[in-house]
């Protein structure tokens, strides 16, 4: 009986040990090396370490990372310390994958619909890929964002949480705004007419002019500590009447602005939101203009790079094997990424991906 109990306890311990073992929890190292998406994350982590070592002028560390990277790309035998290092990277990859999955849990079809409703470009993509496939497309992207730009990832997650939380409130806010709009002299049929007839330029012009009023009103309100203090200052009927007149005009203007901007006119919304919330405008990584790059420029950079590399190795391109060529391509991408420093996400990721694909199709 005692022996049996002991045997069970030992077995239980073994099971627990196995469950805690890294390879038993997905993604295992084998899975990471076999899955291009996960391997891409590993490569990014290696790149980050490499950049850190470069910054610290740690040549030894740089060499170690480079060697490990080459071993992985060439599928060479790994040393014991390579495995130790890879286990640390694996932990970070798991963290990124888990963080990505947490965000995806927030993205049910209703939330995706609200998000897509704010952007014509994303809406079009959702129509192409189908709403149910959106999380599948985003999983690797979000994990990579977690690795390359953690602050941006946290900001994005916070915004999605806020949107999700407001799902039910949104309808109420819309209804309240609509009611205010009608209250300040814009009849409902008129609101619909404004949506239908508004042209982009007109919306921009209207929104712009209304925004100025809006901002003035907002300054007027926030400039005062307490509303009653403001009222106390006014001791003449004329002044009070003038203020009332001003308020009435502003309320009417706000009503018109709500009608013009808030409901369904995406371009107007986009403009208004960006104008008012300049401070919460997202960091898109790099400005679009920074990426206006022609194929000729890219070609000449590639030629210059490859000539230098081949001269260093005293070889011709056709003397290199597939792995050596791949290493040179990877190094070229790494240099391009380095040009943009720590900026991550946004168009830069697509831009770098295009360069990568371009390099692969060229050679």
């Amino acid at each position: 009986m005692v022996i049996e109990r002991y045997r069970r306890r030992v077995e239980q311990e073994k099971i627990e040990q196995y469950q805690q073992h890294l390879e038993s929890v997905s993604p295992s190292l084998r899975e990471i090396l076999a899955d291009p998406k996960l391997f891409g994350l590993l490569d990014l982590l290696l790149e980050q370490e490499y950049q850190k070592a470069t910054k610290n002028q740690d040549e030894q560390d740089k060499q170690k990372i480079q060697t490990l990277r080459e071993k992985l790309l060439k599928r060479e035998t790994l040393a014991k310390n390579d495995f130790e290092k890879l286990k640390n990277y694996r932990d970070k990859i798991k963290e990124a994958v888990d963080a990505s999955k947490e965000v995806l849990k927030l993205l049910d079809p209703k939330t995706i619909e609200i998000i897509a409703g704010s952007s014509e470009s994303f809406k079009q993509l959702v129509e192409i890929i189908d709403i149910k496939n959106v999380p599948k497309f985003l999983e690797a992207y979000l994990a990579r964002l977690y690795v390359t730009a953690p602050d941006k990832f946290i900001d994005l997650r916070g915004k999605i949480e806020a949107i999700k939380q407001a799902e039910t409130e949104l309808k109420n806010i819309d209804n309240e705004l609509k009611a205010k709009c009608i209250e300040y002299g814009i009849p409902e049929p008129e609101i619909a007419k404004i949506y239908e007839e508004s042209k982009e330029d007109e919306i921009r012009r209207l929104v712009k002019s209304r925004l100025n009023i809006f901002q003035r009103i907002y300054d007027y309100i926030t400039g005062e500590k307490i509303t009653t203090e403001r009222v106390k200052e006014l001791n003449k009927i004329n002044e009070v009447a003038n203020k009332l007149q001003q308020i009435n005009e502003n309320l009417k203007a706000i009503g018109e602005m709500i009608a013009t901007v808030v409901f369904e006119t995406e371009k107007g919304l986009d403009f208004a939101s960006k104008a008012i919330y300049g401070e919460i405008k997202s960091e898109i990584g790099v400005d679009f203009k920074e990426l206006q790059y022609s194929e000729e420029e890219l070609n000449s950079e590639w030629e210059e790079y490859i000539t230098e590399q081949l001269a260093n190795q005293n070889k011709q391109w056709n003397q290199l094997n597939a792995q050596q060529k791949n290493l040179l391509r990877q190094e070229f991408i790494r240099r391009k990424r380095k040009e943009f420093g720590n900026k991550g996400g946004g168009f830069l990721e697509v831009f770098l991906k295009m360069i990568e694909e371009w390099v692969n199709t060229k050679l």
């Binding site: 470009s121 203020k243 706000i254 919304l269 022609s294 295009m354």
Partner: protein, 94 residues
Amino acid sequence: MENIYEEFFKILAEGSEEDVRNFLIENFDKFPENVKRDIVGIFFEEAVDLAYATLKFKERLLETVIELEKIKRALEDRKRELELKKELGIESEE
């Protein structure tokens, strides 16, 4: 025929941001899976920003209207009070 990446760099160099967006959407199915994921990802990020800004914008707009209404009510009361004092011949001490 030019490959899709050559076309992309041509539009990137010569076109506007809108042209690049349209190109990516119109040619979405021609890209490999890894590029498709990036395209969906960047447009998603942008849409989240916009949806969040829109939400905050609406909230702030509503808050402003409510504040304005409070001021309006307080001013109306004050106006009535001053008018009444005037009618009664009471000088305002303020």
